[in-house]
Symmetry: C2
Subunit: 188 residues, 2 copies
DNA sequence: GTTTACCTATCTATCGATAGGGAGACAATG
DNA sequence: CATTGTCTCCCTATCGATAGATAGGTAAAC
């Protein structure tokens, strides 16, 4: 069943999610169509419906897969081997490399901005992503009780998400770097 | 010609922009259709095309109108009668009331997040919005040469835009307040 | 023989966009 | 005053493309 590739790509379902995520991160939920995905994956649109009956199912699956990947990438928020600053740097690095490697911003930033028009299951998955990431950041901030901790998780996540939008819209990655530096400077 | 209402709403073109903006801020560029707008305004979709031949025209017009409104709302960034903090508070207030009154986030945050899928004229209008707002904020920050100014315009705009997404997606306005407080605290 | 994973074929709804017509306002002309 | 032409702003009607979704068939795997 499971193939033996070096990545986690296993079967068409996984390929579908991969393609769908890329399109959603570029243009939002409406930017993906069953036909486009099918063509790119090499099957027919009816076969995409076999794996994900409704578009809302596909959207929720994409967000859940994305959430798991991000949480895995940022690592443990309470490992005493690294400092708060190192942990937040890791968080920033995940987004920085996503922008550099793929040229895409955070999936849940794109979808979160259009929450009001999203099918409920998708909106809930996006909300869960932010809840998880906020919790991770809170833990990362408070693990070493910290000296004069004033920065909050919401401030850090807000800054990062907004910086991606700003950099993308103005085609100026400097805004992201600038904001990232500000976050790190406010930590020690 | 010009009617005599108490607001600036003048004619169908203005009504179209109003409705289109509301839909775009809720669900992005693809969330508006000529038919929906027409129905809401009380005309036919062909008449919407009369005012805005292509959808890209409509999108660009909506963004330009929005840009002018925001810039007017935040006022002068270099009036020596108010402090830096007062100016930034005004900027925050504009977005806060937008979220409270309309339940909608910044138009250019929604569109900026899907920049890669936007018609060029719309993407350029969004980019111009951010350039203008960044310039406004830089001026607002540096007018009184400031003591230990470390906060940059990009950091403030990023935080605000991201905070709106975060608050909307999690249905928790506290995240916006939290971020807004952090911005103000970092200024003096 | 049941399940999995694809297929063909097709449905209805909606999209942006266009062609061409009509009613009213208005200015110029006689 | 009455007529004429033009311009604005809306209309009806329709086009082709694309959307999500479904019914039912097929071939291989277990």
């Amino acid at each position: 069943m499971e193939n033996t590739e070096h990545t986690a790509l296993t079967g068409k379902a996984e390929e579908i999610l991969e393609v769908a995520e890329r399109h959603m991160r570029a243009g939002g939920f409406d930017a993906v169509s069953f036909r486009d995905i099918a063509t790119e994956v090499g099957i027919k649109s009816a076969s995409v419906h076999y794996h994900f009956p409704q578009k809302a199912d596909l959207g929720a699956a994409v967000v859940q897969r994305y959430t798991a990947r991000v949480i895995a990438a940022v690592g443990a928020p309470d490992n005493s081997d690294d400092s708060t600053k190192e942990r937040i740097s890791r968080l920033i690095g995940v987004y920085r490399s996503a922008m550099i490697d793929d040229g895409l911003i955070c999936l849940c930033c794109v979808l979160g901005a259009e929450t009001l028009d999203l099918p409920d299951p998708v909106a809930e998955a996006v909300s869960s992503f932010f809840a998880l990431v906020l919790k991770w950041t809170e833990t990362a901030l408070s693990a070493p009780p910290a000296a004069g901790e004033t920065t909050t998780a919401a401030q850090i996540i807000s800054s990062l998400q907004g910086a991606m939008v700003l950099s993308l819209a103005t085609k100026n990655p400097q805004h992201f770097s600038d904001t990232a530096n500000g976050i790190l400077k406010a930590i020690d």
